[in-house]
């Protein structure tokens, strides 16, 4: 018997990388999942890869109308949500001095505003005892040059988690942050220069980046009842990079 038998999960930005690996694992553990992303071909590919008990919904997690459409579809197809994994996020680099309004607005619009409204719009469908997880970043606990705006946007999510778990306690909804370190997702693989890769690897005690599947098992833990007394946490999945 799976750990998420009969549960309904919504995963934004779930057509690639660690959120896709999580969607796959959630389905293996008995859940029905909705995954979102902006590019239709990637949605189709993800749906095919997951194979069953999945609906792909095209949409931009920074766009409130798209979010309305997403939750209307969830409502129509399943009527309720047990797990929300708000993972859509972008991390672009610009050092202080070169930060543009556009860079700031784009980052905060998706990572902070988009995540906030994803959660708020999901709320009416949420079952008592549900689990909300958001994807932070260990950049928020570090000072990687160029990632000031990104890091601040991710740390705002930790603050949300703290307020919301308190506001949602009567409904027994838990809110946690999953905080990846350097993970070898397709996105990372495509942008990392060999030098940047070497630099990140030198920061990781075991010397190799995390795999999407190693994040998915942590997402499963936070989504399932195994974490019933875990709330408001930032769970770092970074191989120890932040601790040392």
């Amino acid at each position: 018997m799976g750990k998420l038998e009969g549960k309904v999960a919504v995963i934004t930005g779930g057509t690639s990388g660690m959120a896709l690996a999580s969607a796959k694992l959630f389905v293996e553990e008995g859940a029905y999942v909705f995954v979102t992303g902006r590019k239709q071909e990637q949605i189709d590919e993800a749906v095919k890869l997951i194979g069953r008990n999945v609906t792909g919904v095209q949409g931009d997690a920074a766009n409130l109308e798209d979010l309305d459409r997403l939750f209307e579809i969830v409502k129509r197809e399943k009527g309720r949500i047990d797990i929300l994994f708000a993972s859509a996020g972008i991390g672009e680099a610009l050092p202080l001095g070169q930060i543009t309004e556009q860079h700031f607005d784009k980052t905060f619009n998706l990572n902070v505003r988009g995540t906030l409204f994803t959660v708020q719009k999901a709320l009416p469908l949420f079952n008592e005892g549900g689990s909300i997880l958001m994807t932070g970043s260990n950049a928020a606990a570090k000072g990687f040059p160029g990632f000031g705006v990104y890091a601040a946007s991710k740390l705002a999510l930790r603050s949300f988690a703290r307020t919301w778990l308190n506001e949602l306690k009567e409904r027994k909804i838990r809110v946690n942050l999953l905080v990846p370190g350097a993970i070898a997702t397709p996105m990372q693989e495509s942008v990392l220069t060999p030098e940047a890769r070497q630099y990140f690897e030198s920061l990781i005690p075991r010397g190799t980046m995390g795999q999407s599947e190693e994040v998915a098992t942590v997402a499963l833990f936070l989504a399932s009842n195994d974490s019933s007394f875990v709330n408001g946490q930032e769970l770092f999945v970074d191989g120890g990079m932040t601790a040392i």
């Binding site: 027994k172 994040v215 974490s227 007394f229 408001g232 769970l235 999945v237």
Partner: protein, 243 residues
Amino acid sequence: MGKLEGKVAVITGGSSGLALETAKRFVAEGAYVFITGRRQEALDEAVKQIGRNVTGVRGDASNLDDLDRLFDTVKGEKGRIDVLFASAGKGEAAVLGEITEEHFDKEFGLIVRGTLFTAQKALPLINDGGSIIMTGSVASVKGFPGFGVYAASKAALRSFARTWLNELKGRNIRVNVLSPGQVDTPDSQRLDEATRKMFEALVPRGKMGRPEEIAAAALFLASDEASYVNGLDFAVDGGFSAI
């Protein structure tokens, strides 16, 4: 197939409370466990409750000879260790102004010194890829009056985790601290009603944790599910320390 199939775990202070519950869960997931405690009767009772795949070894985790005996037994019976859960600890209260040498030495002698030598003596037996978990406490990130020495002793464990994970990286041994919040164990059942109510009021859900909920988190840290989780001070406290 269990998550700890064929693994060997050593759990100090495992004859009661959250560590006993963890021992039960580990065995249910396929592990063989060694548990320790000072009182033989409690140990016998715990071994009976766990039922199979368990050895009880009497000993004080602050006593280095006892620790040598423990790991000799483990070596003789199983030869190796995959999971070390150093959980022996006890929180006693004394406010600044009334702290005695004895209080300090007892708390640091068990929680810091005892945990350190538990890990160091286990090390030669720990398999590459193993997992070390120490029991901290959310008290270490709070300021509960009277618990200054206890909280500081637990905070030291988080610091150990950071150094050791780096020193042990060549062997792929992960080191994490599991920091429970208020958990309903025999120890906390000794609290008077008013203190208990006060603690419960601090937990968002209004109810203490159950030992089973700590065991589930310990299993997570012990298993491959947490293969990229390292150096955490992982609070399992129902959100108490976050708000």
